[in-house]
Subunit: 151 residues, 2 copies
DNA sequence: GCGGGCATCGTATAAATATGCATGGCTTTG
DNA sequence: CAAAGCCATGCATATTTATACGATGCCCGC
């Protein structure tokens, strides 16, 4: 094996590089390492990046450690509302939210996650979310907050 | 344009899908959407995923929201080791660390700052650090600690 | 020393993802 | 309504990433 400085060392250099400046591709990384006298092929870097748990983002490679969380991380409420909400209908102490087919579960989850004090509970079907509040006044307050999320 | 239900709706379905089960590729995603009567091409999904800020991880697509970084939030010693260490050689009551040319001073400084009780003293040349401990047993203990820093 | 097992790596190529360009529909303006 | 501008999209293809396979080096026991 050629002039090798060891995989450990190369991994350290890779971590340094991606932490200090955006690296847009494995070939980009390969060129930068070459400047540091480390000559390896793209194939090796593909393996290295996997071992180092670095993932590609629009802003370069980043450690995946931060995203180790469960797959249930949902987008914020505002986003869910923009994506799913078709209509809001007030009904005394309740709010009825309409979504496209299949969207209700996701929207309800986002509402729950927002933990509004006004919300007594939610029920989601396929394209409808029912939000229940204590009283009509409570519902008015909640409705304002939700409409504010829509800007 | 075919029977389409709108980009917003498709985006909602994509968020649902990737939140509920791992999706390994854009083609995988394309097939699952087809089951929900959404027919689009991989090219469209590539654009969708970018707009939704979903990034590919070994466990499927995830929201990029949780993109903390700092690969270098490591303790200084671990960082220095990753950056400089090429080799560790034990020698009775001493450890010899090899670095790339010019790296020894920096690595030795990091070792000193870590203040291991085992370390009697260090001597750094250009590409070699000599760490001196009291006895062979002491060196073994230190060596384990240093190797642990490398993961 | 000699073979076996393991790890690393490059080459070639497959697989996955991104993109230039053209099309068709929708909306706005006059 | 026509013309213009804009979006969303598909198709074809370029670019990027992953992998199957074989070669080489190293360590270890005999």
């Amino acid at each position: 094996m050629a002039i090798h400085a060891g995989k450990k060392y190369r991994h350290g250099q890779i971590l340094n590089l991606v932490a200090s400046e955006p690296v847009s591709s494995q070939d980009d990384l390969r060129r930068r390492l070459a400047q540091r006298k480390l000559r390896v092929t793209q194939a090796t870097l593909s393996r290295d990046l996997q071992e180092l748990k670095l993932i590609k983002t629009p802003e370069g490679y980043k450690p995946a450690a931060a995203l180790a969380e469960d797959a249930s991380a949902l987008p914020p409420l505002a986003h869910a509302l923009r994506e799913f909400l078709l209509d809001i209908r007030p009904a005394e102490n309740m709010l009825v939210l309409k979504t496209p087919p299949g969207g209700a579960q996701a929207l309800a989850a986002a509402v729950d996650r927002a933990k509004f004090p006004e919300v007594a509970g939610t029920i989601a079907g396929d394209d409808t979310v029912l939000i229940i509040t204590a009283r009509r006044k409570t519902r008015e307050s909640l409705q304002k907050k939700i409409e504010a999320e829509l800007q």
